[in-house]
Symmetry: D2
Subunit: 342 residues, 4 copies
Amino acid sequence: MIIVMKKNATEAQIEHVIGWIESVGYTAHPSRGVERTIIGAIGDGRGQAQLKSVEHLSGVEKVVPILKPYKLASRETREGNSVIRIGDLAIGGPDFIVMAGPCTIESEEQLMESAYIVKKGGAHILRGGAYKPRTSPYSFQGMEEEGLKLLKQVRERTGLPVVTEVMNTTEVDLVEAHADILQIGARNVQNFALLKKVGQARKPVLLKRGMMTTIEELLMSAEYILSSGNDRVILCERGIRTFETATRNTLDLSAVPVLKQATHLPVIVDPSHAAGHWNYVIPLARAAVAVGADGLLIEVHPEPEKAVSDGAQSLKPEKFYQLMEDVRVLEKVMRNGIGAKP
Amino acid sequence: MIIVMKKNATEAQIEHVIGWIESVGYTAHPSRGVERTIIGAIGDGRGQAQLKSVEHLSGVEKVVPILKPYKLASRETREGNSVIRIGDLAIGGPDFIVMAGPCTIESEEQLMESAYIVKKGGAHILRGGAYKPRTSPYSFQGMEEEGLKLLKQVRERTGLPVVTEVMNTTEVDLVEAHADILQIGARNVQNFALLKKVGQARKPVLLKRGMMTTIEELLMSAEYILSSGNDRVILCERGIRTFETATRNTLDLSAVPVLKQATHLPVIVDPSHAAGHWNYVIPLARAAVAVGADGLLIEVHPEPEKAVSDGAQSLKPEKFYQLMEDVRVLEKVMRNGIGAKP
Amino acid sequence: MIIVMKKNATEAQIEHVIGWIESVGYTAHPSRGVERTIIGAIGDGRGQAQLKSVEHLSGVEKVVPILKPYKLASRETREGNSVIRIGDLAIGGPDFIVMAGPCTIESEEQLMESAYIVKKGGAHILRGGAYKPRTSPYSFQGMEEEGLKLLKQVRERTGLPVVTEVMNTTEVDLVEAHADILQIGARNVQNFALLKKVGQARKPVLLKRGMMTTIEELLMSAEYILSSGNDRVILCERGIRTFETATRNTLDLSAVPVLKQATHLPVIVDPSHAAGHWNYVIPLARAAVAVGADGLLIEVHPEPEKAVSDGAQSLKPEKFYQLMEDVRVLEKVMRNGIGAKP
Amino acid sequence: MIIVMKKNATEAQIEHVIGWIESVGYTAHPSRGVERTIIGAIGDGRGQAQLKSVEHLSGVEKVVPILKPYKLASRETREGNSVIRIGDLAIGGPDFIVMAGPCTIESEEQLMESAYIVKKGGAHILRGGAYKPRTSPYSFQGMEEEGLKLLKQVRERTGLPVVTEVMNTTEVDLVEAHADILQIGARNVQNFALLKKVGQARKPVLLKRGMMTTIEELLMSAEYILSSGNDRVILCERGIRTFETATRNTLDLSAVPVLKQATHLPVIVDPSHAAGHWNYVIPLARAAVAVGADGLLIEVHPEPEKAVSDGAQSLKPEKFYQLMEDVRVLEKVMRNGIGAKP
């Protein structure tokens, strides 16, 4: 933490700030410059929230935080990449992993057909929502426990691991009993009670960035899960909210190299929710491979025009097969040197 | 819902879209213009999510929603203003209501002192957090149940009603047993499980707008509570996230007249969280009165420089008394005609 | 400028950075902390752009700027408030100044009628656009020189000073010959050639914040004008672009106290462009008075439904008179103590 | 344009709106729905600005625009892709074009060295700024005319076409005499006087998206150039301003497929300005190829740590060569089928 003093701060004010910094357990390092004095406050970060209150002291202009607030998620803590294993699959390793399926589980037939498409396309994990976070209370809220059972059945019949969203602390155990990966949706990225609860689960967690969440806040949310005891966290960029309305959200592909530099956790990309229209999904999926992501989360539906939710952004089967072909070509190129250098 | 066809859409494509609209239970009203055909889809809104999938049909350019998705929260449903009564207080009526207190409950002394300041200043409701949504898992997470008990004690000793945040469905009953108003924080504004749960409570709910929630989404979140059976919802504007960093968030005071036109629910303003610095709180509080809000939510602390959280944005007692004086003067002016005309 | 070194930065890397900082004319002040070393670079700010390149050196994690980049606009440079005099009017002094009129000058009749309404309402300055920045090349681009002549005529007949926009360096002299205040529109706030040119004019400049401009950047644009020799700059908050679409832009009223603390220049507010709908203009205008602005810029039109541009946000005459009444009541209250204390 | 009436609008109000629509030269198509009446206003778009004023009429809830406001830039107007030829190069055709060079021209040596690196790396066009839009008036403003002369010299010696920014209408002729492509920078994207002026030039224009410009507004700015007579416009995505601060701006790669669908103009990507840090430039450049852009604009400097501006985001020569290698591999893959299918 750096405390910047006002230009006309008096010596007494500077001394008072130094005393105060030391009273909250930090060491003060003043640098007296030509225009003003700045004071470094060095310590272990525990009193950081309190340190911000130094703004109330006379002569203080502003407070600038310096240290990263996350630890377990940081590359500084752990060398190499975290690789999350689910059966034979390894997320965050050399393979590029595609999770695909319908937004919402609608029926056994729809889910089985989707699983068939996912498998035929060569994707690795089946996604499908049993509990659905819908903006409107009047929209279909998901098949809930019945949907979870279908997911488990289809998983057993096809051998595909499954990922599904959990929205409430009271449902974590149930979802954990049926799924291979627990998904935390964008709207719950700072539902801290839920983060702590999935931090106690023994299944990996797919943590989606909120549309309002900075990359640092996303890492802090991961830190909640990691510090609760679950070290298998997969991060997912899914678009942030901006002023642009041509797409539903703005896919922030820069987040991939930024995260890759900051953390050892795997990073996947969901272009379907970000784009909001199926016709932008394929180019964005290609870009996600090229930017260095570890995988994709894709919406595919046997008949998108009949989907109960998010039909507009779901791919038809043939488009999905094309996407998987493109991904395979690019993945091979990336593996053969591109992207491996830095 | 309006479906805009492409410029070169064929008659067969138009007919196909009309047939599809009718197959999902809507009536189609085509208008053939000079440049292109647009088709109105009129119905009861149930199939709206599905209707969006029409984008997959050939010849469709885009889909434009027309109707507001909220009903119970809308002025169209209910004439006049909803007035929420808490003991002798009425929120949303002619009186301007101020809720004030510390961000976090730290101790009995701190809470009692805060209550004393709140009462001396002439504010009406005591706020204080027992469960704290903190970005970092390493920050103090609140006194939890012990904090709730302190709140109840202070409430009994001072007669001040209390408002406090609830973060998890499993804690709603406990919080309801101790507080007069249940607060849903900005980060939980789309925690739909929690919204449904407080919708079953018998205490009023203070619903804060999320920092990336549109006004329409805020009303949809209110709709979750209202449609679950609790018709006592107070909305709170607390700043949205923008590119500007001089303040923590950007207080969107336009949201007050927009909400006042759209809904019958009361609207209060929290300038403390939006500003992030105590020295902007007083002018913004004055602006909130003048723009037509029903009340304020203010952070005040006996010694802000010792606060465990949000000290930088908390007012010292003497500044709080000044704010309350300003509010009283402006409230009187507003009552005597200004703002009463439209 | 603070250079934050990586956690594992070596002593040699630290020494190299120190040497580099000194090679570009700064003094280096290293503080060796528990977790990492930070190095303050202290100097006169000239080499600041170059200093940012230190990120290329090994062991550097990030660079944090500390000093404000503006000088002439800063309160640190000049005590008291700048008061801009235009005839008998003083902007930035104790009086609250209202500039009003139509978006676009359409005809002599329309401008005269508008001037009559502005005067009858008790506003002080007539606004009206002769050169119009329109998003579409197919929209009316303004009456140009003919509009300027009308403005001058009406000014002579009514005695009202006039403010009008200038969009191109080649038109600055002409506009200066006809108007009392030169307006720089939101889209030209970083048109640096134009800022330098109006910096050489002898008439005051009304500088609108861009919808993409931070408060600091706005002050840097003011600095362009001030450092070119024109010290009469009036700043104008007119809404920033955010994700919210209920209003055209989001009026950032927090910018008023932030600017009042940072600069000695007067600050006015344009609620018409921010809101985009006439029915939000009156409450936002009231809030602008209460938040401590020095004045308002308001769109009023004799018959808004016939306006060639921005009719939706223009007030009808009777609404404008109501606004002026509200402003007068609030201004009196503010003058009698509220807002005068800090 | 669709006019949505209020739920309780009377028949007389509906009739009045219909009459008014027809009085401004449009045809009215009312659809009377279950909940409310909507009225389509169909015409040639000229009166669109005026049509918005219908919001002042009683019973009107809101106005929803339907048609795209751009024509010449639209794919509906012109089949196939516009290919801009500069000597032997073709931008917007099958080749992927890289423009590279320093942010600012600093000296003959620096520019010659940069040109050597650009050529050695296999890029096609040299970029370099003679007129620099700097946020601060105290930063180096460019070598101006002397820089243009250096650019021309280096162009003659190396055979590389050159692109450079023009900031003022008065300098367009001079820049046109020295450069092969005129660049309009992000801050001037809505400097309409400048757009009209370069619309009269006979050299192609590289139009950068502003950091708060919507895709539709970017196309409207292109429309200014096209409708002024210059049909050689290259669009450039360079990052938009969002709440995320880990990168300088947020590169909106979705803009590439959105633009490719909306317009026939070529689209290139500038990852250097968007990222603001050199270490994110290579992955983002790879993503730009994979998403389907027509080219790249890259900052490279012989010694970035000595650059007078934007050193932090400039690549060192060896990194630039690596980027060019990656681009070549990906370009080949894209050409051989990927991305060619839709």
